[in-house]
């Protein structure tokens, strides 16, 4: 391999393929092939028609799928509303603190995802400081709680994937030519209009990428629902995990997983059409 990396190998038409071979092979064997075996598992139930897993997916677990998408859609919207202003401040208003702020945004990545979610559990606990304050402000009834509610799960999902929303938006805002925003301000004269007509449209690729990077992992996540919610907040990830690892009903588990993947792929393509961005990479 060492020789192919040098300039001389440029003339060898096989060089790029040799260079990629190990990594691509790994992805094919351990990512593409498993998707095929997943589908095969989903239709290989014994003593039942091939579509049995799918029928049970939609009859018994449709509500979990719907809830997962509802929660993650909500979390994505909240993350967009919270993340956009911060990305804007980082790109246009932070001056020499830009890199410092960037560091702060990626800081949560350095503490384990699970431990962070447990920290939310600690904060939202009955009798904890947040519940206490809300009760004191009469925003919650005296016996009110946050843990085991939809809000706790959506809040946790929003929190965990927020950096994935902020960073792509920041990158697309950062790329905008400053002369363009100045020209817009000169011409439109109102900063609000300059934002609506120039800055926001130019940041759409970042909004697109950020929304996907939040929505996709959120819809498959089950840690937030498990740690911050009750069985009433259970999401599809828990069901898949449970069927695969505890119940061992593989055809059903594989069908659930396959349906989740298919719906997300369709949603991604539809979203790309709406926003008019064909580039994913």
């Amino acid at each position: 391999m060492a020789g192919t990396a040098a300039g001389g190998a440029r003339r060898n038409p096989l060089a790029p393929y040799l260079l990629m071979a190990p990594g691509i092979l790994w992805l094919v064997v351990f990512f593409v092939v498993p998707i095929v075996t997943l589908f095969h598992t989903s239709i290989a139930g014994e003593g039942a028609p091939w579509w049995d897993g799918y029928a049970r997916t939609f009859t018994a677990y449709g509500s979990f799928i719907l809830r997962s998408f509802r929660f993650s859609l909500f979390a994505t919207l909240v993350a967009l509303l919270l993340g956009y202003p911060l990305a804007y401040v980082m790109a246009f208003r932070s001056g020499r603190f830009k890199n410092f702020l960037l560091g702060l945004v990626i800081l949560p990545f350095f503490t384990t995802f699970l431990v962070r979610t447990f920290a939310w559990k600690t904060m939202l606990n009955d009798g904890g400081p947040i519940v206490g304050t809300l009760v004191w402000l009469h925003l919650l009834p005296p016996d009110g709680r946050l843990l085991n509610t939809n809000w706790a799960v959506i809040g946790g999902l929003t929190y965990n994937f927020l950096p994935f929303m902020i960073l792509p938006i920041y990158v697309s805002l950062e790329k905008i030519d400053r002369r363009l925003t100045e020209a817009a301000q000169d011409l439109y004269s109102s900063p609000g209009r300059a934002f609506r007509r120039v800055i926001f449209p130019l940041s759409l690729p970042g909004v697109f990428a950020g929304s996907l990077l939040t929505f996709i992992p959120a819809s498959g996540d089950f840690i937030n629902a498990e740690l911050l919610g009750s069985p009433n907040q259970r999401m599809i990830g828990t069901v898949i995990q449970n069927q695969f690892l505890q119940v061992h009903d593989y055809p059903l588990a594989a069908a659930l997983s396959f349906v989740l993947m298919t719906i997300i792929s369709i949603a991604v393509i539809a979203y790309a059409r709406v926003l008019g961005t064909e580039e994913l990479a």
């Binding site: 391999m1 060492a2 020789g3 990396a5 040098a6 300039g7 790029p16 393929y17 260079l19 990629m20 190990p22 990594g23 790994w26 992805l27 351990f30 990512f31 498993p34 998707i35 075996t37 598992t41 919270l82 993340g83 202003p85 911060l86 804007y88 401040v89 208003r93 001056g95 702020l101 560091g103 800081l107 350095f110 503490t111 384990t112 995802f113 431990v115 979610t117 447990f118 920290a119 939310w120 600690t122 904060m123 904890g128 929190y159 927020l162 301000q185 900063p191 609000g192 996709i216 992992p217 089950f222 740690l227 599809i236 995990q241 695969f244 690892l245 997983s257 993947m261 997300i264 994913l280």
Partner: protein, 279 residues
């Protein structure tokens, strides 16, 4: 920074800017709150087995961070998995990035798509499909299957990170070195590697962090092995000692130190490059 213009616009611009800054600050606070709690609770002396309610300040957990052998073993396993998978994924991913950046070839679009797909597939699907493959093969689930899974999801991240960092490099430098009589090995060590090193280091750090943090994919492919995140997940049922927070805080602080050192190293390289151009 705020909008220039007439007086009333200026005032409105300033007001708007103030609202933006405060919103941004509050969002940062939201990102920070749990981290603050994690560090704070490493100094807690909990009542009972679960470190979820603040009781009193104590250094006990910091004095005896390795008190729980299963926790230490889980951490060791996680570090081992992260080291091996980072090494392999960084090598494979960098090779893909080099191929994509330096050659025009048929199928490069398909390769780009193949790299993005694992990132746009929920972890629960990645984990469960890999499990269905291992079940089909009757493979023994354990250390090897965890490492295989971690390399799989890291390769994409590495390839995309390195590619983003080395796009638009001046590869004629390599040819120049060859023309001047450098051997291929010398070209790699003296020209290619120094050029792409910062991208590789960033990608390797990302890969290591992802591996250390992964829970969902690992859960499906770990057999009876227990990594650090799996231990933490199990801890919610048996006992959640403050030592978990001590380790989390240690990871945080050492990553910050590592990041600081890397930034300093890159700034030094930049200064050197400015003072004496050329390899």
């Amino acid at each position: 920074m705020s909008a220039p213009g007439t007086g009333s616009h200026m005032r409105r611009g300033r007001w708007r800017g103030w609202v933006l800054d405060v919103t941004g600050g509050l969002v940062l606070l939201y990102l920070f709150l749990p981290i603050f709690v994690i560090v704070l609770y490493s100094f807690n002396r909990p009542e009972g087995k679960f470190n979820f309610v603040w009781k009193s300040f104590s250094l006990d957990a910091w004095r005896d961070p390795f008190k729980y052998a299963p926790l230490v073993d889980a951490m060791k396993l996680s570090l081992k998995v992260a080291s091996i998978s980072t090494l392999v994924a960084t090598l494979f991913g960098t090779m893909i990035a080099l191929a994509l950046c330096r050659y025009k070839f048929r199928g490069s679009g398909a390769v780009g798509l193949l790299l993005v797909l694992p990132l746009t597939t929920p972890e629960v699907v990645l984990g469960s499909s890999l499990l269905s493959l291992f079940l089909d093969l009757n493979a023994h689930m354990g250390f090897a299957t965890i490492v295989i899974a971690h390399i799989m999801f890291s390769v994409s991240y590495v390839a995309l990170t390195v590619r983003a960092r080395i796009r638009g490099f001046d590869w004629t430098l390599e040819e120049a070195a060859m023309d001047l009589g450098a051997t291929p090995l010398r070209v790699i060590t003296k020209v290619t590697l120094p050029l792409i090193a910062p991208g590789i280091v960033a990608a390797a750090m990302l890969s290591f962090a992802l591996s250390l943090d992964d829970f969902i994919i690992t859960l499906f492919n770990s057999g009876s092995e227990v990594t650090y995140p799996l231990y933490v997940y199990g801890a919610r049922r048996a006992a959640f000692p403050p030592q978990i927070n001590v380790l989390a805080t240690t990871i945080l602080v050492s990553s910050l130190l590592l990041l600081g050192v890397t930034v300093l190293w890159q700034q030094r390289r930049l200064r050197q490059a400015l003072v004496s151009p050329g390899p």
